[in-house]
C-alpha cells in the first residue's frame, strides 16, 4: 500500500514537472557554446541537442589528479584526470537547464556527446576538487586559500540518454582574453 502511495505522489509531482515550460540557452550563449565546442572537435547541431529528460543517471566517480607541487593552482586544474567509475544509478527527475554559457576557471564543463562527437548536453558545475578555506579577520576582511584535492569521490548527474556515448570533463582555461577548453577526462557511457 505504501508503495502505491509513493507511486501516486510521484506521479503527481512528476506531472507538475512535465507541465513546466522548459528553458533554452539564449542565442548568444548558443553561439559561444558552438564556438568553444567546435574548437575541441565537438559539433553542435541544434536538432541533435538533447531535449529535457525526466530521468537522469547519477555517475559515482573517483577522480585522481596529479598532485604536482610545482604547478600553479590553475595548471593543476588543467592536468588530465584519471576517472574510475564507482557506480551508476538511474533516477527520476529533471536536470537543471542553464540559459547561459558563462564559464569560470574554478568550474568544470560537463558535456555528453554522441559516437560521432555531436553535442547532446552540457552543464557547468563547480569543480569539486576546489575547496575554499576562507576566514574573516577582526574587521571581517577575509583571508584564505584554495585547496586543491587531487583525490576524491564525487558524483555527476547526466541525462539518461541512449545516444550519448561519452561524458567529457573540460576545464575552462583563461588565456588572459578568453576561455578555451582543456579536456581532463573522457568517461564512456553504457547504453541502457
Amino acid at each position: 500500500m505504501k508503495k502505491y502511495l509513493i507511486a501516486i505522489l510521484f506521479l503527481i509531482a512528476c506531472g507538475g514537472i512535465a507541465h513546466a515550460q522548459q528553458r533554452e540557452p539564449t542565442t548568444a550563449s548558443k553561439q559561444r557554446l558552438t564556438s568553444l565546442m567546435t574548437a575541441v572537435g565537438v559539433r553542435v547541431e541544434e536538432q541533435r541537442l538533447l531535449a529535457p529528460t525526466q530521468t537522469y543517471q547519477e555517475l559515482r566517480l573517483h577522480l585522481t589528479s596529479p598532485a604536482k607541487t610545482d604547478l600553479s593552482a590553475e595548471e593543476l586544474r588543467s592536468q588530465q584526470v584519471a576517472v574510475t567509475l564507482l557506480g551508476t544509478d538511474k533516477r527520476t527527475g529533471g536536470l537543471p537547464r542553464q540559459r547561459s554559457f558563462e564559464l569560470a576557471s574554478d568550474h568544470l564543463l560537463l558535456v555528453t556527446v554522441t559516437a560521432d562527437s555531436r553535442l547532446r548536453w552540457f552543464s557547468l558545475v563547480p569543480d569539486p576538487r576546489v575547496l575554499r578555506a576562507e576566514r574573516p579577520g577582526p574587521t571581517g576582511q577575509l583571508t584564505g586559500e584554495i585547496i586543491f584535492q587531487p583525490n576524491l569521490d564525487y558524483s555527476f548527474n547526466i541525462p539518461d540518454d541512449n545516444e550519448s556515448t561519452e561524458l567529457r570533463l573540460y576545464h575552462p582555461r583563461w588565456n588572459g582574453q578568453e576561455f578555451g577548453l582543456v579536456l581532463l577526462s573522457t568517461i564512456p557511457l553504457k547504453k541502457n
Binding site: 512535465a18 527527475g93 542553464q98 547561459s100 576557471s105 563547480p126 575554499r132 578555506a133 577575509l142
Partner: protein
C-alpha cells in the same frame, strides 16, 4: 516543450516499476520556501550535520534563521521569488562535529570535521555522503545549490561544490560569500600571500586602461583610475584582489567578496542577478500553449503570459503583431477582424529592466515567445436556418412567449412599445465574425426586409440565434418564406406561418 500530463504520468509509472531508484531510504525533506516549479527556479537544498533526532527542532530553527538572513540581503531579497528552499532532515547519531585538534570525535551523518587539511577553521564534510543524501531526497533541479549547516558554534566552513558552514553568527555571511564563488562565478577581492591566477572572474582584472576594464560601464568618467577613494559603493578600479595586495584589481573599495557584513556592491550584484537568470527565465508560462494557431477572420483570441515577480519592481511585457508594437500588459486580445487572411505573428517580450544590471550581452534578463497565427477566411458555406424534421417549416419562437407559429404581426402582451412580434430564428454557419446579417421575407415578387434586432452564437453551441421584428407589409395570414443573408450568402428559405 511540454508533455501531455497523462503521457508523462504513464511514463513515470512505468519507470517507477521498471527499477528506477526509489525513495525508500530517502531522508525526509520539506520545501520551506516554495515559489514555483523547480524547472524555473533556483533551488537550494540544505542539509544539517551533527543534529541528533532530538535536535531536529533546533535544526529547523537554524535553517529558518539562515533562510531569513539570506533573503534579507540583495540581490537575494529582491529576487527571493526566484528561489525555492528545501530542508533535508539528516539525523546524526551524535551532536556537533569532529575537532581533531583537541582529539574530540563524534559520529555524525556527513562526517563534518574542523581542522580539515590542517586549517583549523576549515570544516570538511564527506561530500560523497552529502551528495548521496541529496540524490535520494530531492531531484537535481531541486538542488542547484547545496549547503550543509554543521551543528557546532565554533566559526568554520568551506566553499566549493557543497558549501559548508557552522552555526556561528557569521555562517550566513560566509555562505553568501561562498555562493558568490560557486553560484555567482565571482572572484575573491582580498589580497594575501598566494597571489596569482586567472583574472577571468567578472569582478577581477589585471587591466588598468579604463577602456579595458570589464566593468567600465559602471565607472563614472570623473572617477580616477586607479581609484583611491575609500567611500563604499563607488565603482572604480581598486588595487588588490585575487590573493594579491597589488596588481590585481577589484571594482569597489569593499564588498562581500572582500569583507563579510558588507553589501555585494554594484558589479557583483549585477553578476549575481545574471546568474539567477541563468537558471530562471522571466517567462513562466504562456497561453495558448500551442505556438501555431489557426483563427477564422473576425474572431478574437486572447494571449497571456505568466511572469516572474521580483520583490519591488515589475518585469515589462511588450506584445507585437507582425512586428508592430501593440500593448504593454500581461495579456493581449487579438481582434482579427481587420487582419488579412494568411500568416501573421504574435510576439511577446518579457524583460527585467532593473537598474542593477547595466549590461546583458547574453540577454538573460529577457525572454521572448512567438506564436504563428494563420488567419483563414470565414466559411463559404451559406448559413442554414433550422427547420422541423422532414419539413421546411422554421424552428421559430415568439421571443417573448416562446410559442411556435403561426404568429400575429401585433401582440398586446408584447413588451415593446410598438407591440410588434419578434421571432427567434436559429441558424448554423451563421457566425457573424463582425459582419452584418440581414433577414428577409419573400412575398411573391416582393422582398420585404426583416429588421434584425439581435444575432449571436448560443453559448456552447455552433448555433446562432437571430431575433427579427415582423414589420408592416407582410401578409396578414398564411405562410411566408423567410431567409437570412450573411457575407453575400443567402440561406435556405423556411416557412413561417402568420395569423390574423
Amino acid at each position: 516543450m511540454t508533455t501531455h500530463p497523462r503521457i508523462s504520468s504513464a511514463l513515470f509509472a512505468l519507470l517507477l516499476f521498471a527499477g528506477v531508484s526509489s525513495l525508500d531510504h530517502a531522508e525526509t525533506f520539506e520545501t520551506i520556501v516554495n515559489n514555483g516549479p523547480s524547472s524555473n527556479r533556483v533551488d537550494i537544498a540544505i542539509m544539517g550535520d551533527g543534529y541528533t533526532a532530538s535536535q531536529m527542532g533546533k535544526y529547523q530553527a537554524d535553517v529558518q534563521q539562515f533562510v531569513q538572513a539570506m533573503f534579507a540581503q540583495d540581490p537575494y531579497r529582491e529576487y527571493q521569488s526566484y528561489f525555492n528552499v528545501h530542508r533535508i532532515d539528516v539525523v546524526s547519531n551524535q551532536s556537533g562535529a569532529d575537532h581533531p585538534e583537541r582529539n574530540s570525535f563524534v559520529d555524525t551523518a556527513l562526517d563534518a570535521a574542523y581542522n580539515c587539511n590542517g586549517t583549523q577553521r576549515l570544516i570538511c564534510v564527506n561530500v560523497s555522503k552529502a551528495l548521496a543524501v541529496v540524490g535520494r531526497s530531492v531531484s537535481p533541479a531541486q538542488s542547484d545549490i547545496k549547503l550543509v549547516i554543521v551543528n557546532d558554534p565554533e566559526y568554520g566552513g568551506s566553499g566549493g561544490a557543497v558549501a559548508v558552514a557552522s552555526v556561528h553568527a557569521s555562517a550566513v555571511e560566509i555562505i553568501l560569500h561562498e555562493l558568490g564563488h560557486s553560484f555567482g562565478l565571482l572572484g575573491d577581492e582580498y589580497g594575501g600571500s598566494t597571489c596569482g591566477g586567472p583574472d577571468s572572474a567578472p569582478n577581477i582584472t589585471l587591466q588598468t586602461d579604463r577602456a579595458s576594464i570589464k566593468w567600465n560601464y559602471w565607472i563614472d568618467s570623473n572617477t580616477a583610475i586607479p581609484t583611491l577613494t575609500t567611500t563604499p559603493g563607488v565603482p572604480g578600479l581598486y588595487d588588490g584582489a585575487q590573493y594579491c595586495d597589488h596588481g590585481y584589481y577589484r571594482p569597489t573599495y569593499d564588498s562581500k567578496m572582500r569583507t563579510l557584513d558588507r553589501p555585494f556592491e554594484q558589479i557583483n550584484m549585477e553578476q549575481l542577478i545574471k546568474r539567477i537568470y541563468n537558471l530562471v527565465s522571466p517567462l513562466e508560462s504562456t497561453s495558448p500553449t500551442s505556438s501555431a494557431l489557426t483563427i477564422t477572420r473576425g474572431q478574437t483570441q486572447s494571449f497571456s503570459v505568466n511572469k516572474l515577480v521580483p520583490f519591488t519592481h515589475q518585469l515589462s511585457v511588450t506584445w507585437s503583431l507582425d512586428g508592430q508594437a501593440q500593448n504593454i500588459a500581461d495579456s493581449f486580445l487579438l481582434d482579427t477582424t481587420s487582419l488579412t487572411t494568411g500568416s501573421h505573428s504574435i510576439d511577446v517580450l518579457l524583460k527585467d529592466n532593473t537598474t542593477s544590471v547595466r549590461r546583458d550581452p547574453d540577454l538573460l534578463l529577457e525572454e521572448t515567445h512567438h506564436w504563428d497565427v494563420t488567419i483563414v477566411a470565414p466559411s463559404s458555406t451559406p448559413p442554414m436556418l433550422l427547420t422541423e424534421v422532414g419539413s421546411s417549416r422554421a424552428i421559430a419562437l415568439d421571443s417573448v412567449t416562446l410559442m411556435r407559429d403561426p404568429f400575429s404581426l401585433l401582440a398586446a402582451h408584447n413588451f415593446s412599445l410598438d407591440q410588434r412580434t419578434r421571432l427567434a430564428l436559429f441558424a448554423t454557419n451563421a457566425d457573424l465574425l463582425g459582419d452584418t446579417l440581414t433577414a428577409q421575407v419573400e412575398n411573391g415578387a416582393q422582398t420585404i426586409p426583416l429588421p434584425v434586432e439581435y444575432a449571436d452564437k448560443v453559448p456552447g453551441y455552433e448555433i446562432t440565434m437571430i431575433v427579427v421584428r415582423l414589420p408592416d407589409g407582410l401578409p396578414s395570414s398564411g405562410d411566408v418564406n423567410v431567409s437570412i443573408t450573411l457575407r453575400g450568402l443567402t440561406s435556405n428559405k423556411v416557412l413561417v406561418g402568420i395569423k390574423p
